[in-house]
C-alpha cells in the first residue's frame, strides 16, 4: 500500500504542517512518498528529503506549478494517482482548493479535514463546526483525504529520502495567476505558534491591535482575530480563527474582546489552555476558558504587558 502526501509550501519554505500530515499518513500505514509541485523550489525539496519515514520525494518543478493553481496541480496529481491508494494533503488553502478536484477526477469522494485515523479506510472528522465528531468509513478504492494538522504530532526531520525529478508539465490553460497580496509579518505563523493572542470586535479598531502586539512580543505569540474584527477591517483576513478561518491549537490561547460564538470556538477550542478577557461576565467564551478575567481590555492589556 502506498500513500502520496502533497507538500504545502510557497516555493521557498516547506510548511511545518506537512510534517503533521505525514504523521497522519503513518497512522494509515504504508510506503509514503511526498510530492513537491512548484517552481524554483529547491529549498522545499531539500527540506522534504529530510522528513522522517519518507520513501521518495517526487518533484515537479515547472512554471505551470509556480502558483499551485488547482487546475494544473490536480491534473499532475491525477497523473501520479495510479500508484497510490491514499492521497493526502493538509487542510490548508492550497490543499482545500485542489484536492476535491483530484477526487472528482478519480471519481471518488473526499474525506475532508480528518482529526483521527481508525484504520486504512476509517477516519474521524469534525462536523457542524466541531459540535459533533463523525467516524466515517470510505467505500472507495482510492482515498483522497485532507488532514487537520492540529490533530497530529509532527514527524521528525532526520530522514534522507530519495529525490525523483518528474518531467510532468501540465498547464490546463484555463486559469492564470494575476497577483498576490500577502500579509508581511515577523511573527510566528498562526498555525505553528505555541501561543496565540486574538482580538475581537471589542478591540474597536485596528490601531488598538497594537495593545496585543506588546504582549505577543513578550510571549513569542502569533496574533489572531475573530470574524467580526476582520469584517470590520481591523486586521487582514488571514488572521481569522474559526470554523471558516484558521484552526489553531496552541499551548496558550488568549481571547480578548471576543464573545465566543460557536464559529469562533470551532477554531480554537482544542487549545491546551484558554484565557478569556471580556467585560461581559455572561460571554460564552467563559464557558470554554480555563482562566477568565472579567474586565475592560483597555485597562487589562497594558497591565498584562507590563507584568509579563
Amino acid at each position: 500500500m502506498a500513500i502520496l502526501v502533497y507538500v504545502e509550501h510557497d516555493n521557498s519554505e516547506l510548511k511545518a504542517d506537512t510534517l503533521k500530515t505525514v504523521a497522519a499518513a503513518q497512522a494509515i500505514g504504508g510506503d509514503i512518498d511526498l510530492l513537491v509541485a512548484g517552481h524554483n523550489c529547491q529549498a522545499v525539496v531539500d527540506a522534504a528529503a529530510t522528513v522522517s519515514g519518507v520513501n521518495k520525494v517526487l518533484v515537479a518543478d515547472n512554471a505551470a506549478y509556480e502558483h499551485q493553481l488547482a487546475e494544473n496541480v490536480s491534473a499532475l496529481v491525477l497523473e501520479l494517482a495510479g500508484d497510490y491508494e491514499h492521497i493526502l494533503s493538509t487542510a490548508l488553502s492550497v490543499g482545500k482548493n485542489f484536492m476535491p478536484r483530484v477526487a472528482a477526477l478519480l471519481d471518488v469522494a473526499q474525506v475532508s479535514d480528518i482529526i483521527g485515523v481508525e484504520s486504512a479506510d476509517t477516519f474521524v472528522r469534525p462536523i457542524y463546526a466541531g459540535n459533533a465528531i463523525a467516524t466515517v468509513q470510505s467505500l472507495d478504492t482510492k482515498k483522497v483525504i485532507t488532514v487537520r494538522a492540529t490533530a497530529f504530532d509532527a514527524v521528525a526531520t532526520d530522514g534522507s529520502a530519495e529525490v525523483v525529478a518528474l518531467s510532468n508539465a501540465t498547464d490546463a490553460g484555463i486559469s492564470a495567476h494575476v497577483s498576490d497580496e500577502l500579509t508581511e509579518s515577523e511573527r510566528p505563523d498562526l498555525g505553528a505558534a505555541s501561543v496565540v493572542i486574538s482580538g475581537g470586535r471589542g478591540m474597536q479598531n485596528g490601531d488598538n491591535f497594537k495593545l496585543l502586539e506588546g504582549i505577543a512580543d513578550k510571549l513569542g505569540a502569533a496574533i489572531g482575530a475573530s470574524r467580526a474584527a476582520v469584517d470590520a477591517g481591523f486586521v487582514p483576513n488571514d488572521m481569522q480563527v474559526g470554523q471558516t478561518g484558521k484552526i489553531v491549537a496552541p499551548d496558550l490561547y488568549i481571547a480578548v474582546g471576543i464573545s465566543g460564538a460557536i464559529q469562533h470556538l470551532a477554531g480554537m477550542k482544542d487549545s491546551k489552555i484558554i484565557v478569556a478577557i471580556n467585560k461581559d461576565p455572561e460571554a460564552p467564551i467563559f464557558q470554554v476558558a480555563d482562566y477568565g478575567l472579567v474586565a475592560d481590555l483597555f485597562d487589562t492589556l497594558p497591565e498584562l504587558e507590563s507584568k509579563l
Partner: protein, 250 residues
C-alpha cells in the same frame, strides 16, 4: 450571461446541534433550518452581477427533499429569476451532488456558477471544486471579490497568507467566502413575488447517475467537553496561574 447558484438547506448558524443519544447522527428534529450562509452570499453576488448588467438571468438550484423549496423561495425573493429542485430523500455526498449539478450545467449552460465554499453542517468544502473538475471549468474558490471582464473573470481569493487574485476563462466556477458581500434582507413584496416565480422539480433518480453513497457514517459523537475553568480577580492572579499552575509561560 446566465448565472447558476446551487444552494443548500442547513441548520441555522445560530443553533448548536445536538448528537442523538444512540450516536447514529445529529438530531435535527424541530431544529430551525435556513439557507447555508455561504450560499446566501452566492445568491447575493449573482444578484449584484445582474444589477450591474453583467448577469442576465439567475437560476437557483437545490438538491434535497421538498423542504428545500423554502430555501429556493428565499433565493427567489433575494432576486433569483427561477429555481430548480432536484428531489431526493437521501443525503447525498458532495461527489454525487456535483454530478447532479453537472447535469444542470449541461442543460442550462451558465456563464458562471457561484456556490458557497462550504456548508456549515458537513463542513466539507468540496462541491464547487468537484463541479469544476467534472465540467472541466476553472475554479476561483474562497472568493472575496469577483470581477467579470469580457471572457474572463478575475477572482480574489482568501488564502492562508492573505489574498491571491486569479484570472479564469469563462465559463467558470466561483465559491464564496464570508467577505465577498453582505447579503440583503428580502423585502416583503419580493417575498410575495417569489411565490409566483417558476420552480421546476426534477427527480434525482431521472438523471441516470449512480447515486450510491461512497462512505458509511459509522458513528457521531459529541466532542470532548472542556471542563469549566476559574474566574481570576486580577491580572496578577492571571499571570501567577499561567506561570505556576498551567505552566504555559515562564
Amino acid at each position: 450571461m446566465k448565472v447558476l447558484v446551487p444552494i443548500k438547506r442547513v441548520i441555522d448558524y445560530n443553533v448548536k446541534v445536538r448528537v442523538k443519544p444512540d450516536n447514529s447522527d445529529v438530531d435535527l428534529t424541530n431544529v430551525k433550518m435556513a439557507i447555508n450562509p455561504f450560499c446566501e452570499i452566492a445568491v447575493e453576488e449573482a444578484v449584484r452581477l445582474k444589477e450591474a448588467g453583467t448577469a442576465t438571468e439567475i437560476v437557483a438550484v437545490s438538491i434535497g427533499d421538498k423542504k428545500c423549496q423554502e430555501q429556493l423561495r428565499t433565493a427567489l425573493a433575494l432576486g433569483a429569476d427561477r429555481a430548480i429542485q432536484i428531489e431526493t430523500e437521501e443525503t447525498l455526498d458532495s461527489l454525487n451532488i456535483a454530478k447532479l449539478l453537472q447535469k444542470i450545467v449541461d442543460e442550462e449552460q451558465p456563464g458562471l456558477v457561484i456556490l458557497g465554499k462550504q456548508s456549515i453542517d458537513s463542513d466539507n468544502n468540496q462541491t464547487g471544486q468537484m463541479l469544476a473538475a467534472l465540467t472541466g471549468m476553472a475554479q476561483g474558490t474562497f472568493a472575496s471579490e469577483v470581477k467579470v471582464d469580457g471572457d474572463k473573470v478575475n477572482v480574489t481569493r482568501e488564502v492562508d497568507g492573505g489574498l491571491q487574485t486569479v484570472a479564469l476563462n469563462l465559463p467558470a466556477i466561483v465559491t464564496t467566502d464570508l467577505r465577498l458581500n453582505e447579503p440583503r434582507y428580502a423585502k416583503l413584496p419580493d417575498i410575495m413575488k417569489a411565490k409566483r416565480k417558476p420552480l421546476d422539480v426534477k427527480a434525482a433518480g431521472d438523471f441516470g447517475i449512480d447515486l450510491s453513497p461512497r462512505a458509511t457514517l459509522l458513528k457521531v459523537a459529541p466532542p470532548a467537553e472542556r471542563s469549566a475553568g476559574v474566574v481570576v480577580e486580577s491580572v496578577d492572579e492571571l499571570v501567577e496561574k499561567l506561570k505556576n499552575e498551567a505552566k504555559v509561560i515562564s
